[in-house]
């Protein structure tokens, strides 16, 4: 924003220099004070949100609208966009590559979400427990993976599990085992990515869990201690219910995040071997940018969006029912 806009205007009466519309002064004074206040300030809040409103319109509404339109055309990025109706969506229903990507994405999510949930909760419990020593150092070590980009997480794990050069296979073969096909076996490859994703994804959820655990009232634990509850019982019946809202957010965010994973796969195994571990975003990217089928890719994008929304709604309703 231009700096001059932010310069303090000349102080006038109570009405904002930033623009008190005539309506405020002309109205009858018996209007509710709240109403008057709301009406008096129009220009100032408009200025405050202007930048984000413009960005929202240009980078969300515009692409979303054109994307929806293109999903009904056979647009290729240049020239006209011939309308083809629902053809793209019909083709998607019969596209085995799309299904394969979808199934792989779901499998990856099913592997990653529970793993990172358990790890982040476990680390958080250890970091607030009165029984552990050396917490400051441990906290930093657990948190550092958050700083590392998905591309680099991929590179780091590729370096460890490389089939011919990785440390893991070196240790396995030195112990007399056979080299494990971490990259040429599609399923093992997916497991490696899931582990890497959990490694890099736990830090943030761990922070949320730490805050949540610290917010569980101490009196509950004291009461439980008097009743002779074991540590496990205290965790199961006090901590877990106490942090349920945070658990919900962590599961929701990591589910949505896993469904959209792309960079990690590109760096770790490039969606391989072959195209076996091409997840849905990679499928959309390849279709849209490498094959230039923007219309078709847009249709796939909207299917992805519907899936993401369905997941969010299902988790939300499960959460509601559990709370009720």
């Amino acid at each position: 924003m231009a700096n001059s806009v932010l310069d303090p205007g000349p102080p006038q009466d109570g009405a904002a220099a930033a623009g008190a519309p005539a309506t405020a002064s002309g109205r009858t004074p018996d209007l509710r004070r709240q109403r008057r206040r709301a009406a008096r300030y129009q220009l100032a809040p408009l200025l405050f949100v202007a930048v984000n409103v413009v960005l929202f319109a240009v980078f969300f509404v515009w692409p979303a609208a054109t994307g929806l339109w293109y999903s009904f055309t056979s647009y290729t990025g240049v020239g006209r966009a011939p309308f083809v109706g629902l053809e793209n969506y019909e083709r998607l229903l019969g596209d085995s590559a799309f299904y394969a990507a979808l199934v792989r994405t779901l499998l990856f999510t099913v592997l990653t979400v529970p793993l990172s949930y358990l790890l982040s909760l476990g680390l958080a419990v250890l970091l607030v427990s009165p029984y552990t020593k050396g917490k400051p150092v441990a906290r930093v070590v657990f948190f550092v993976p958050w700083l590392i980009s998905p591309i680099l997480v991929g590179v780091i794990w590729r370096w460890i599990v490389g089939e011919n050069f990785g440390l893991v296979n070196y240790v396995v073969t030195s112990l007399g085992g056979d080299a494990i096909a971490w990259q040429s076996n599609a399923d093992l490859s997916l497991v490696v990515v899931a582990v890497a994703a959990a490694w890099s994804g736990t830090a943030f959820s761990m922070l949320l869990f730490i805050a949540a655990i610290k917010n569980v009232p101490a009196s509950y634990y004291e009461a439980a201690a008097i009743d002779g509850a074991s540590p496990w019982q205290r965790f199961r019946y006090i901590t877990l219910p106490g942090i349920a809202p945070t658990s919900f957010i962590v599961v929701l965010l990591s589910t949505l995040g896993s469904m959209k994973e792309y960079a990690l796969f590109v760096a770790l195994n490039n969606g391989g071997p072959g195209t076996e571990n091409n997840l849905i975003v990679q499928y959309i990217f390849t279709t849209g940018f490498q094959r230039g089928q923007i219309g078709y890719a847009s249709a796939a994008s909207f299917v992805l969006m519907l899936i993401l929304m369905a997941i969010a709604l299902v988790q939300l309703s499960v959460n509601r029912r559990r709370e009720a």
Binding site: L6, P8, V49, V144
Partner: protein
């Protein structure tokens, strides 16, 4: 959805009782052991990676592998910095990350303030729009976003990465949450003293929001430094590449040059680690429960 909640710092879980009984000792030993085992597990991948980067190219694959480099060298780093235009990628990334961060903090602070302190119907509608953006991630509107960038003439420009990333729901939520904890009386008092709305915001509200500004700044810097998919679709000219794209271009090569890759990767992690170590408490004050990632 995940609306952030600022909570009062809670009481510690349990009063710090002296660890005296035998059962407690057993517990301390076992819990500490488990934690440190996990520390080793978590720390090892990165440690192995960093130590490997100091090995000469010839030793990287020579058996037996050793944890510590026998002939430590920084040749990989030198080669990474001089070849592949790496210094340029580094500068590009720095420019993108810093300019986006500054703009994001300003835009989010203004929007969050407006959403917290004014009550117009269109502000409420805009808040719903901001919420909706969390359901519409870049990945979903990949190709149309690319066309928008192209039509705006931002293709292959660093500005093409900066401008769209300025709007972030997380940032707006953080500031909205913070400013709604600031008493309205402060705003009223400033108005009675004749301060204009904008100068109230700049002179009174922004200074008290400094911790939030720093927290968002660190988050935003991390997001932009590590971003891959936006730069990937916006940039085409290698001289404009960011670090992540540059590193992926080494990984994607037919024969991966691990010596260069290790050096380049470690260099790219260093700035974030430094920022984290300096501003640790702003990141770790997870009371800002903005349960959102960008």
């Amino acid at each position: 959805m995940a609306v952030p909640t600022l909570r009062a710092p809670a009481l510690r879980r349990r009063p710090a009782t002296k660890v005296t009984s035998r059962g407690d000792q057993v517990r301390t030993v076992s819990a500490t052991t488990i934690m440190w085992l996990l520390v080793v597990l978590y720390g090892f991948p990165l440690l192995w990676f960093v130590l490997s980067s100091f090995k000469p190219a010839g030793d990287l694959f020579s058996y037996p592998l050793t944890l510590f480099p026998r002939n430590p060298t920084v040749a990989g780093y030198e080669q990474a910095w001089t070849s592949f235009d790496f210094a340029r990628y580094f500068t590009n990334t720095l420019v993108v990350a810093i300019s986006t961060t500054v703009l994001t903090v300003i835009a989010s602070a203004m929007s969050g303030y407006a959403l917290a302190k004014y009550s117009n119907w269109w502000l409420k509608a805009f808040f719903v729009c901001i919420l909706a953006t969390t359901m519409l991630p870049t990945e979903v509107i990949l190709s149309p976003s690319f066309l928008v960038i192209r039509d705006l003439g931002l293709y292959n420009q660093l500005a093409g990465i900066v401008v769209p990333s300025v709007i972030t729901a997380t940032g707006v939520f953080m500031f909205r949450q913070f400013f709604s904890t600031v008493p309205d009386e402060l705003l009223e008092a400033a108005r009675i003293d004749g301060s204009s709305e904008i100068s109230t915001f700049v002179r009174i509200m922004l200074p008290i929001a400094r911790p939030i500004m720093l927290t968002l700044a660190i988050f935003s810097f991390q997001w932009r430094w590590n971003d891959y998919i936006w730069p990937l679709i916006v940039l085409n000219d290698p001289s404009r590449f960011t670090l992540q794209i540059g590193i992926q271009s080494i990984v994607g090569a037919e024969n991966v040059n691990w010596s260069v890759l290790l050096g380049a990767s470690v260099i790219s992690i260093v700035p974030l680690v430094l920022i984290y170590l300096v501003f640790q408490r702003y990141v770790m004050s997870a009371d800002i429960n903005a349960g959102l990632k960008d």
